[in-house]
């Protein structure tokens, strides 16, 4: 929220520098996002008195001798039509900075530095400026938008800095207001805090006004939906003369970014900024049946707002109606049909509290926003509703733009919005929360400055909470008021002085996940984190069939875009996208893993908490060297680290993995339970997305794996008797599977301790349709040293069984 220093000063004597005030505000909870001097970009501009002014023949230019007081006298060429000898104008000295304008002399195009120049052979040492060139407009300074020089008052001291004379020495505070302090969404609200922080009295704006003794016969105000409008006040003003507002009001509105329209509209805007109360003015002529009804809109009722937009409404929207039709969208914008016009003479002012949630919802639903709706969305208190109306009527009176009648209306749930609330809290409880002792004197000083009328009786701190402080309810609230004003620098850090000693750290599961990550990193993989949501298109990328369970994704009701609209049911699409991104950026090789949740529910908008399963996704890529077994090696390292045995099987239905190479993919199992898959990316997908590369993907269900991740170490003694090795080479059919051969060998001989495939050959030297597999076999016995004879028998038995089961022959 923008607050000009000059406006604040109307309510508080500020005797600190603008920067000191910024610190004070910061310390008590109001962060000043930016503090800027209004004329920050203007420098070196002084009051210049044109002593002589001679036209340069055949040009529109004049050559002027300008007295700039202490800065000297300069010859300045000037093209403005209103320059004359004896006039005082802003003179930008050589080296000054002013705004540069486009050819239209109105549009600002950045700033410029004034240099010595020559025009038509005449030297020019500076520039006489227009209002626009020094950052003014008509509202900030009357006459500023004249297309020529800005005429300064005759009493402006020659050579003086221009800024204080035209009000450019003002400071603008852009203050962020926390959600609990809607009462500070106004200049007066901030002034209250400044007064409290500086310990100065607050000068309340005048709210008195004279009435003309007349009343409006038969006018009625009814609130039908008080749940959405707990207070509705209105007042009738007659003999209105629509005119321009006085310069001081236009200037203030301009400072906070509001363009002046007319006195009546300006008053409503002024009260919004000053008191924080949005107001509205209706042209009485347009209110049919002399009444105002506040009610929910009827289904499909329509309204055209001031900005000529038409809206179709429903009962979620609150409207202000006359006897027949809606005339305003409550809290958001008035209707075009009851707008103040130049010939308006009778006005009904509205000051109301509309519930913030309803204003926000309507505003969002209709896409219609205004200063008023933004203010209501933060929450308006009824104290401001009442004060705002009084202030508006005072301004009518002060500006003389109408005559205030005795016809005031107040429809309200609460009786007295100005009533304070009594609150008593324990000082001991406050100090116990803060951990320090705030002296009683300080407590009284701070709460008095905040207008809480405090008193202390022993441990009891009693006060009257001002009506606008709806956020204050209990002792911690008071503790916060005290410490923010007393200063957080009084907090003395202690290290859990009174707390019990507790046993901290990760639990077993959390430790195993960390170990899992470190194991994967040790395999050369980098940990990735991807968004938990993606697009149905990402499942399309993997050609996941429409009826596959992975398509049963939870859908976000209000996604940022379709790209981030469904919750992940599998991680592989994100992983493939990461690989594609890397390849497209020219990263030739790499390995990635991600551990994240997947979300599963039968309903795309579940009402019961869905199942969240943790998954591990792996992606390896490089310019063609990566193969299936590189990925399998990673899984095997993981198995080793956790003392597990994974088994790999070609999927029974490779169509379940349409994104994988049908001949290079496997289902991974543990203890007979399927826990995931691994495979090479299908050729056509590779060619389409990452040509010239090879990608290995894997995904494991960590939730299923978790119970196995905390297997304790089981130490095994080294063998007592020597281990003997024999190698065999087998000729078997191409479709015979290594794991089946190994299993058969192990079944055949109890003393076979380990089998390891060490060579595979397919080719000319053996018959077509066959492959040669060479294995090393290690035998050992726990109770004796094996003899050659025994070993020969073992190998023979193994070969015999292999022959029987697989038609394997020794090569």
């Amino acid at each position: 929220m923008i607050v000009p220093l000059s406006w604040l000063k109307e309510y508080v004597d500020i005797d600190v520098t603008p920067q000191e005030l910024e610190t004070k505000l910061f310390d008590c909870g109001f962060e000043v996002e930016t503090l800027t001097e209004l004329g920050a970009e203007i420098s070196g501009v002084v009051v210049g008195l044109v002593e002589q002014c001679e036209p340069i023949p055949e040009t529109h230019l004049s050559v002027c001798q300008v007295d700039c007081g202490e800065h000297g006298k300069f010859q300045i060429c000037c093209g403005a039509d209103n320059v004359r000898a004896g006039g005082k104008y802003p003179a930008a000295l050589v080296g000054a900075q002013v705004y540069a304008t486009a050819k239209d002399h109105v549009t600002i195009e950045g700033t410029m530095k004034i240099k010595k120049g020559k025009l038509k052979g005449f030297e020019s040492q500076g520039m006489l400026c227009s209002g626009i060139e020094i950052g003014l407009n008509e509202d900030l300074y009357p006459g500023a938008e004249y297309c020529g020089l800005l005429v300064l008052p005759d009493d402006a001291p020659v050579g003086a800095d221009i800024k204080p004379i035209v009000g450019l020495d003002d400071w603008m505070y852009d203050i962020s207001i926390t959600a609990n302090r809607p009462d500070c969404m106004s200049v007066l609200g901030i002034a209250r805090e400044v007064a409290a922080a500086l310990g100065k009295p607050l000068k309340m704006p005048a709210v008195d006004y004279k009435t003309d003794g007349t009343t409006l016969g038969g006018f009625k105000v009814t609130v039908e939906d008080a749940d959405l409008c707990p207070r509705y006040q209105a007042h009738y003003v007659r003999n209105v003369k629509i005119a321009q507002s006085p310069a001081w009001m236009r200037r203030r509105l301009a400072l906070v970014g509001i363009r002046s329209i007319s006195n009546i509209v300006d008053i409503t805007n002024y009260v919004l900024k000053e008191i924080g109360q949005p107001m509205h003015a209706f042209d009485l002529r347009q209110l049919e049946e002399k009444q105002i009804i506040v009610r929910r809109a009827k289904q499909d009722e329509t309204i055209v707002t001031l900005d000529e937009k038409e809206f179709k409404l429903n009962p979620n929207n609150l409207v202000i109606c006359d006897g027949r039709k809606p005339v305003a969208l409550a809290g958001i914008m008035g209707g075009l049909n009851s707008e103040i016009k130049d010939d308006t003479t009778d006005v009904v002012f509205e000051s109301a509290k509309f519930m913030r949630d309803n204003v926000r919802k309507t505003s969002r639903a209709l896409g219609q926003h205004s200063d008023s709706s933004q203010r209501f969305e933060k929450g308006v208190d009824e104290y401001a509703t009442q004060l705002g109306l009084k202030r508006a009527l005072h301004l009518i009176d002060e500006l003389g733009c109408g005559s205030v009648t005795d016809s005031g209306y107040a429809e309200a749930v609460s009786a007295d919005p100005a009533a304070t609330r009594p609150l008593t809290v324990s000082i001991a409880q406050i100090n116990a929360l803060l951990g320090i002792t705030v002296p009683d004197g300080e407590i009284l000083r701070i709460l008095k400055n905040l207008d809480f009328a405090p008193s202390i009786d022993g441990d009891k701190l009693s006060m009257q909470v001002p009506p606008y402080r709806e956020d204050i309810e209990n002792a911690p609230d008071i503790a916060e008021e005290l410490i923010r004003m007393y200063g957080y620098s009084h907090i003395i850090p202690t290290f859990l002085a009174a707390a019990s000693v507790t046993n901290g750290g990760r639990n077993t599961e959390q430790n195993s996940i960390l170990k899992l990550k470190r194991t994967l990193a040790a395999q050369g993989l980098y940990e990735a984190i991807h968004y938990s949501f993606y697009s149905p298109k990402d499942l399309d990328l993997l050609r996941i069939p429409q009826d596959a369970p992975q398509r049963q994704a939870i859908r976000i009701l209000n996604p940022i875009s379709e790209d981030l609209s469904i919750m992940r049911t599998m991680l592989a699409p994100s992983m493939l996208n990461a690989v594609i991104r890397n390849v497209r950026r020219g990263n030739d090789a790499g390995g990635l893993f991600e551990i994240a949740k997947t979300y599963h529910s039968a309903d795309e908008h579940p009402s019961e908490q869905p199942e969240e399963r943790e998954a591990l996704s792996i992606g390896l890529f490089d310019g063609g060297k990566i193969g299936f077994f590189d990925g399998k090696a990673v899984l095997e390292a993981l198995a080793e680290a956790f003392r597990l045995t994974f088994t790999y099987k070609k999927p029974e239905d490779p169509a379940k993995y349409p994104f994988l190479h049908p001949g290079m993919c496997a289902v991974v199992s543990l203890d007979g339970q399927e826990i995931g898959w691994i495979g090479m990316l299908a050729h056509d997908l590779t060619d389409a997305e990452v040509p010239e590369h090879a990608v290995c993907l894997a995904e494991l269900d960590l939730t299923a794996l978790r119970p196995f991740l905390s297997k304790p170490v089981a130490f095994e003694m080294l063998p007592k008797y020597p281990v003997e090795q024999r190698d065999i080479a087998l000729l078997v059919g191409e479709d015979v599977i290594c794991a089946d051969l190994e299993a058969c060998m192990k079944r055949s001989c109890k003393s076979l301790n380990r089998v390891q495939l060490f060579d595979v050959y397919k080719g000319k030297q053996i018959e077509a349709g066959k492959q040669s597999l060479a294995f090393s076999l290690w035998f050992r016995s726990d109770d004796h040293a094996l003899t050659d004879k025994e070993l020969d028998q073992f190998v023979a038995k193994i070969l015999k069984n292999l022959g029987k089961e697989f038609e394997a022959t020794q090569r």
């Binding site: 410490i483 019990s500 938990s532 209000n558």
Partner: protein, 341 residues
């Protein structure tokens, strides 16, 4: 005889001089010194043909020859082997500046590194780790955290909903309630995890990570909060870092504070990192709101507590100097390979 011996010596020397290979030299040695077939051994055998009185003198000179030959061949062998070794070494010389075969050392994500660092710090203070669900219900994410029904934070603009009842949690604070409902004080938990908000620009990501801390016990004060945050800040950002509390607002804490750390880049003098303020905002915190304790069945007149929450990406970006939050979610290996533990 002596002449014969001398001739043999010269013959050996001449033959040896022509040899450059230690194996050939060994053959030559065998030719003379082999126990059975060696020429010197053969000389010894000749002794039988001599008169007994000539034998000692003969034996002496043959033995002298043998001793000389042994030393000679040993020296020759050493010389040749040294030369051969030098040649072999020279032939095997490598350019040590050539690259080694890539044996990649992977790395954890910066978020994980920061989370681990924080967990280790707080674990040492007695915090356990709690990870709640990411799809939360409205009660745990908002209502129980004293976020009134019409609070702007609940609006569709900020929160992702998956159904009228369920949402993607916007804060790990949701975990606070789940813990407090089930555990009695003393409670010290740390709740790391992903959170989701409908924000997407250079500094905001619709998904990011938070680390939430909660302490509830008898006699917990605002002074304890700052003391603990000092320890945190000094561990994460450096020994000389100080913290500063300033008033703020969160529905679930009262009083609420923003916590700044003195700029670890410039030491508080003012620089680009701290935008010339000397301070960097790192987290939000406060004393647990009485209503939150009450909602969880904890008597706020007996127990007090504090909570704090920080964005893990923010800490990572500050600590490692990462300019854009998006880089953390793009998985560019050139980025990820920089974060070895």
């Amino acid at each position: 005889m002596e002449k014969q011996i001398k001739a043999m010596r010269e013959k050996i020397e001449a033959a040896a001089a022509a040899i450059t290979d230690s194996k050939e030299m060994y053959q030559l040695r065998k030719q003379y010194l082999d126990n059975k077939a060696g020429q010197i051994s053969a000389l010894m055998k000749n002794m039988r043909d001599l008169a007994p009185e000539e034998r000692p003198a003969f034996g002496k000179i043959v033995n002298e020859l043998k001793t000389w030959a042994l030393d000679f061949f040993t020296a020759q062998d050493a010389r040749l082997k040294a030369a051969e070794l030098a040649k072999k070494n020279a032939a095997e010389q490598i350019d040590v500046t050539m690259p080694a075969p890539a044996n990649r050392c992977g790395a954890l994500h910066p978020n994980t590194l920061i989370a681990n660092e924080l967990i280790d710090i707080f674990a040492g203070m007695g915090f356990t780790i709690f990870e709640g669900p990411e799809i939360e219900n409205d009660y745990y994410n908002f209502t129980a955290l004293n976020t009134p029904k019409d609070h702007p934070a609940r609006d569709m603009q900020d929160t992702f909903y998956v159904s009228p009842e369920l949402l993607l949690r916007t804060q790990t604070s949701a975990g606070q309630i789940r813990v407090m409902e089930n555990a009695k004080p003393p409670i010290k938990i740390l709740s790391p995890g992903k959170v989701f908000r409908s924000d997407d620009d250079a500094t905001h990501s619709p998904m990011f990570s938070q680390m939430e801390g909660l302490v509830v016990d008898k006699g917990i004060t605002l002074c304890d909060l700052q003391g603990m945050l000092d320890v945190f800040a000094q561990n994460v950002f450096g020994k000389d870092v100080r913290t500063r509390l300033r008033p703020s607002y969160f529905p679930f804490t009262e009083p609420s504070v923003e916590v700044d750390v003195s700029c670890f880049e410039c030491g508080g003098k003012g620089c680009r990192l701290c935008k010339d303020t000397g301070w960097i905002e790192v987290l939000g915190a406060g004393m647990v709101n009485r209503k939150v304790l009450e909602n969880c069945g904890i008597d706020p007149d007996v127990y007090t507590g504090f909570a704090f929450g920080m964005g893990i990406e923010r800490i990572a970006m500050l600590k490692y100097g990462i300019p854009n939050i998006k880089m953390l979610f793009e998985s560019d290996v050139r980025v990820l390979s920089q974060f070895h533990e």
